[in-house]
Amino acid sequence: MITQLFNILIFPGILFLIIYGFFAEYIDRKLYARFQNRIGPPWYQPVADFFKLVGKENIVPEQADKTVFKLMPVFALASTITSFFYIPLWREKALYHFGGDVIVVLYLLTIPTLTFFLAGWYSRSVYAMIGAVRGLSQLFAYEAPLFAAILSAALLADTWTLSDITTFYRNHPSLWLVNIPGFVIALISLLGKLEKTPFDIPEAETEIVAGTFTEYTGKLYALFRMTMNIELVVGASLLAAVFMPFGFQLNPVLGVLVYILKSLFIIFIVALSRTVVARLRLDQMVSFCWRFLAPLSFLQVLISVIAKKVFMP
């Protein structure tokens, strides 16, 4: 019981996740700054930002739906943290697992996007509403390729449990190479999920101020920011678990190190890609996702099916 509580609340649960979230934000911002020839923030900047926001006044717009407005940040944070418990990090088995948890994790990761939509919609501000609608339109574009890419890895492993996927790839170490196209697709879709350039359309600041979050201030905004950080960590961990399934049988210390390196690699890719491209327009983003990413992800599913027939008769 105590071990379970410790696992959930402290390590590798909520506290670790929050700290690693701050660290991920720092790494992302620092890399982004260095790529742009800037010095970048000091290591404590994300924490300082968080505490500054927490200390600020909470302003709820008069026209907004007060309950929804206040509840959405909590919902977003809760669903993101929950999804983390089902992802194998440095051990083959995740903290919790059950048959079909890969689907649950993917849906739990969709909930923040929905809460962003509701939060923006019920802010009753034009900028927030446009941001909300953009976020939702974007969701339909990147969701299909992301699901197809991750599920093709599950298809090859013949299981719907994340923890069993890692076990499968331990038994067949070289088979993860089959999923490399899927990895690339998932990385690009992840940029859409995290709303990073070139897919930061829902919060394009030069067009719609801060998009969904325009009306958010103080503690509520701090919670949203934390959700974004944790989403980055969870997204990186999920991709690391599914597409880089190695280093799970090492001793715990080395295992944690390998996990951190793997997720940092994905954060590095995220920072790099948002450095080198411009923001796309919503119509360009949707057509890119459906014309290129979606067909490629279905190709990955096909490859997985064929690989399964060839390697595991």
Binding site: N37, R38, V126, M129, P198, E205, E207, I208, A278, R279
Partner: protein
């Protein structure tokens, strides 16, 4: 409860305060989904009454005031005004002074175009371009500080010449920096042509055809990107431009991409011009003596500012103060084109289309008269009414200068 179908027509206020705009200006955009269906522009948030203030200052004081019309093309405004005054006074400006004016003018063009490139990058979410081009812009800002003592308002002009000389050591510095900047600019040109997302966001956006430019009277790079070779430096050479060899850059893309290409290639021309200046710079005096009272007359001067044609009209009445100064900043000529460019555009393209004319709203805001298209009611106010309105408004707020005014009048009578 908002129905999703209600989303059809949404009015989005862009400005007077908005992250896309660096200065207050209001664009009210009507959206259907992501498409713009209508737009109205409202100016006048940044009116500072500089023209009127010039009438109460001497010619030389007005020059310093006019230099502050714009923070980017400050040299353009002061040179343009000085040229008009020199024409009225029939002053023969020394050749060396003309070359120094040209040098500072071209350095200013370089810093303005590099600044624009960064802003354009930022507007389409490409912050890396902003950081890179503004870093390179520092080179030319440092040069300007070295040559004139200031990074922004250079204060190098005076009526009848320039105030500071350029030494050969300084010229060597300038040339060295030009090599560096040329290399960087070539990299940006390559980038604009190769980077896919950049091309996607810039080409086909904000179309303005050749005929539109003629009809709407757009100037500067905005016009040149639609294939119109209109450049005051070539058409009506001033300063040293008549003796220098350079090309007027045009492009036939007619869109934001074309405007980017024009500005980048103009940078290369500016480097060429500056190299020629260093070769051809004649020796000689820097100023001729200008009279304090300018003889009666009027003149119009034209100047190719980085954003386009800048026009100054000066009328003198034989005293030491100008009778009338009129400034037509390039943004005023280009702002009409923005509405045309945004027709059937996307909301996402709005910031870059507005930025593509390189707007400078505070230069443009000239009047307290607001002509709302919905009202069609015109009202003109003279200076006395405006002043009395101001006094009344202060009185309502409890601020009254009546006593003070009476005291002052008494003091004057004595």
């Amino acid at each position: 409860m908002h129905d999703i179908h209600d989303f059809g027509d949404v009015k989005v206020p862009v400005g007077p305060q908005h992250p896309a705009l660096k200065e207050p200006e209001s664009f009210l955009i009507t959206l259907r989904g992501e498409k713009i269906t209508a737009m109205s522009i409202r100016m006048g948030y940044n009116h500072r009454g500089i023209e009127k203030a010039c009438e109460e200052r001497s010619y030389i004081q007005s020059m310093y005031l006019l230099e502050r019309v714009c923070g980017i093309c400050s040299h353009s405004h002061s040179t343009c005004y000085v040229q008009a005054v020199e024409e009225i006074a029939a002053l023969d400006v020394p050749r060396r002074a003309k070359y120094i004016r040209t040098l500072v003018g071209e350095l200013e063009r370089i810093h303005s175009h590099l600044l624009w490139l960064g802003v354009a990058g930022h507007e389409i979410g490409f912050d890396t371009l902003l950081m890179y081009s503004w870093r390179d812009r520092e080179i030319v800002m440092d040069l300007l500080a070295k040559l004139t003592g200031n990074r922004v308002n250079y204060g190098i002009n005076t009526i009848g010449g320039v105030r500071r000389d350029v030494t050969s050591d300084q010229m060597k510095d300038v040339l060295r920096s030009m090599d560096l900047l040329e290399e960087r600019t070539k990299y940006y040109i390559e980038l604009a042509q190769d980077e896919i997302t950049l091309a996607k966001r810039l080409s086909g956006v904000g179309k303005l055809t050749y005929d539109d430019v003629i009809k709407l009277g757009a100037v500067g790079p905005t016009a040149r990107a639609s294939g119109i070779a209109r450049d005051i430096r070539k058409d009506d050479p001033y300063a040293a431009y008549g003796e220098l060899d350079f090309k007027v850059i045009t492009d036939d893309h007619c869109d934001v991409f074309g405007r980017t290409v024009v500005r980048l290639k103009e940078l290369l021309e500016s480097y060429k011009i500056i190299r020629q200046i260093s070769e051809k710079m004649p020796e000689g005096p820097l100023t001729v003596r200008a009279p304090r009272k300018i003889p009666e007359g009027e003149a119009i001067a034209r100047y190719e500012a980085p954003r386009g044609e800048d026009v100054h009209y000066v009328k003198s009445n034989g005293t030491e103060r100008p009778d009338r100064v009129k400034v037509r900043a390039p943004t005023l000529a280009n702002i009409q084109a923005v509405a045309r460019m945004l027709e059937d555009g996307y909301l996402a393209d709005m910031p870059i289309v507005i930025a593509a004319i390189d707007p400078c709203f505070s230069c443009t805001d000239r009047t307290t008269l607001i002509n709302d298209t919905g009202l069609r009611k015109k009202e003109t106010m003279d200076w006395a009414t405006l002043r009395s309105l101001g006094i009344e408004s202060y009185k309502r707020r409890g601020v009254c200068f009546d006593k003070l005014n009476r005291k002052l009048e008494k003091g004057l009578k004595k």
